[in-house]
Symmetry: C2
Subunit: 202 residues, 2 copies
DNA sequence: GTCTATATGGCGATAGAC
DNA sequence: GTCTATCGCCATATAGAC
């Protein structure tokens, strides 16, 4: 039954992924994707119906295992300092590999806010519950400063994610080469960790 | 010569501003703007040529005086702690008033990165030079911890801006009503200030 | 499964009459 | 200045041949 089907489907996914990552979702047309995949536009419609569904499929693939890894860290039994440090390091490593994931997430948020509830991958990227519980426990035990844990969680992901959302602006204003920008972001790992942990210190 | 011209131009600007702020640039069509302004689509083009130029005009108007106010704070002679606190408070007040400014900036960044150099208003929103100088002076005098000032500046604007960029996600995951979201953001003023100042403390 | 061909409808932009 | 009419591009959808 499905002869070239699997390969064709994969070819479409590969081409679209490459284009989405390189140019951003809004700047890629369906015709361009079909051309790159070497197939007809109608065939793309046969497999994915709409560009939006194709995007969601790709987005889920790109994000799923990354999100699980991040969730595992937050749900682990590591001491709070180590947990925060690992989380920051891993998150930044993921984004250095695929910087455009941030703008993917934000395009989903702004394109279709109602869709949020059905897109598990996006929700996995904002996953504060276990973290907040842990912070509360530590605070009650007097091992960290007593803080609003949700605020802290939002602050941590802001410190990690936002520089990738305004990458071009930062690079432009500091006259960074691509390598210098990467160095800047890598340096952020310790910067962010230092900032958060010094804030939590009792 | 310019009979109804000024009024017409203003009517277009008013209509477009309202729609852009309410729905976001990408979700507003030129026909919708023209209809709301009660004029013909071509007339809009006569005054503003393209939707992009119309947007840039409005963006500059919305941002200019706000950006100047923020710059004034950074260039003031306030003690560093007060300067940071004022900056955070003012920036968040601006964004509570017009939350969509953040997504405006980011749409400019992603739509046309090359345009960045010519859009003075955007550049004014990332304006680290004076701040970095001040931090360096304080650090050398031993009044604050010795830090990478550019990293710190990026961190401060990340803490301020990012929650507005993912407003819908935060509201959804915490089941915030609009008022609860505003409260959350107002609470951030002291949260962010505490975090930054505790980090800087020697 | 894969193709050609075509239709619909939205969009930004423009030509040209008045 | 202001309009009508239209162009060209796009995403989406469908019919129908192979």
């Amino acid at each position: 039954m499905s002869k070239g089907s699997i390969k064709t489907k994969q070819k479409i996914l590969d081409s679209a992924t490459e284009l989405f990552l390189k140019k951003g979702v809004d700047r890629v047309g369906v015709r361009e994707i079909a051309a790159k995949a070497g197939i007809n536009l109608s065939l793309m419609n046969y497999y994915f119906q709409t560009k939006e569904k194709l995007f969601e499929t790709i987005f889920d693939m790109l994000v799923k295992d990354k999100a699980e890894h991040l969730r595992d860290i937050l749900e682990s039994n590591l001491p709070i300092e180590e947990k925060i440090s690992d989380y920051i390091d891993s998150y930044i490593d993921i984004l250095i590999d695929k910087p455009i994931l941030v703008s993917f997430v934000m395009s989903v948020i702004h394109r279709n806010p109602e869709k949020l509830k059905t897109m598990g991958s996006v929700l996995a990227l904002y996953n504060s519950e276990k973290f907040c519980n842990h912070i509360n426990i530590e605070a009650q035990a007097g091992r960290v400063r007593s803080v609003n844990p949700e605020q802290l969680y939002v602050s941590i992901i802001s410190l990690i994610l936002f520089p990738f959302a305004i990458k071009e602006l930062i690079a432009d204003r500091n006259k960074f080469t691509p390598k210098e920008y990467d160095d800047f972001v890598i340096t952020r790992k310790t910067h962010i960790t230092d900032m958060v942990l010094s804030y939590l210190k009792v």
